[in-house]
Subunit: 195 residues, 2 copies
């Protein structure tokens, strides 16, 4: 049915954004890899490549939001951050460091020139920071401190993914994970200070 084709187009684009970014991803490649019938692209995405890209960024962002929400519901921020990093390490090692972050890729290369892609990337980052900040605040941290720390956590996840792709190694993800784990150990833990 038609909605299957739409889903395949979105999932294929999301994967290609993670592998190679927006500029290198052509509609012909998406159509071929999604096994999409001729004409289906503009039927589902009359706005063309940018509309498809926006849907793919939203799709990828929603997946990560769900995973973060689930992790935060199951344990402390410290535990959820560790689980999130470990899951990313597993995926990147299994795919030989081909899969990065669709949101980061679009943010870096397209935000300056494509309004809809910039908005999608901005939405994703703000959602993740707010989610993490709320969880930090519910653990007893002050609101402004929680927002700054949430930005550091989301930023270091994004940055460590960038470094892992560039170095073709999960080592940056493991090191950033351990530094955050130490940092989030909490005031009752004598190892709290990183200094």
């Amino acid at each position: 049915v038609a909605s299957d084709t739409r889903d395949r187009l979105i999932r294929t684009t999301s994967r290609l954004l993670r592998e190679q970014g927006y500029a290198a991803t052509g509609l012909n490649q998406v159509m071929a890899e999604a096994d999409a019938p001729k004409g289906s692209m503009y039927f589902h995405f009359p706005g063309g490549k940018e509309e498809l890209g926006e849907a793919a960024v939203d799709h990828f962002a929603a997946q990560l939001t769900a995973r973060m929400t689930d992790g935060l519901a199951r344990g402390t921020v410290r535990q959820a951050v560790r689980v999130f990093f470990d899951a990313y390490i597993e995926v990147m090692e299994r795919t030989e460091f081909r899969l990065g972050c669709a949101v980061a890729s679009v943010a870096l290369d397209e935000a300056a020139t494509h309004d809809r892609l910039a908005e999608a990337a901005g939405r994703a980052f703000r959602t993740w920071v707010d989610l993490m900040a709320d969880a930090l605040e519910s653990e007893g941290r002050a609101a402004d401190r929680s927002h700054d720390l949430a930005t550091l956590i989301i930023g270091s996840i994004e940055g460590a993914i960038v470094m892992a792709k560039g170095q073709r190694s999960s080592e940056p993800l493991a090191s950033a994970r351990d530094a955050l784990d130490h940092l989030l150990a909490g005031p009752t833990d004598p190892t709290t200070t990183l200094a």
Copy 2:
């Protein structure tokens, strides 16, 4: 003279990588914006676009390495990190969030498919982490802790740049800066713990 042309090609490519990434940057655009004579591209870069891209990543990385080295020579890690973030905030605001990080862009989109670009990005990240780790260790932190914390600092700089470009706002850079500033306040400072 010939070497001026080579420099212009490298600097122009470095700027275009920061603005739009490698895939969107065509050699014709580089030649035009660098005002380079026909034939000069393959005279200076017989390896073509990837060799030019590698030189541009190395050039950009060396600039940031010099800036970090200078900052670390002038003060504490805490002070140097703050100065570095503030300088990036100034550049991004002045250029309306068009200029990101050439290394991050290449790492995210090209590392999986271009060996020379992956190597250049990996070199840059390792150089920055080592520089920061050495400085942290010289302030009295343990070696393994210094390496993890250095990875967190470099990762959060890269990630906050990505977020700032996506959100077209310097707010993520300011928030990550403040979280790191708090974290690096040191064991003699009662506000050290972020928890």
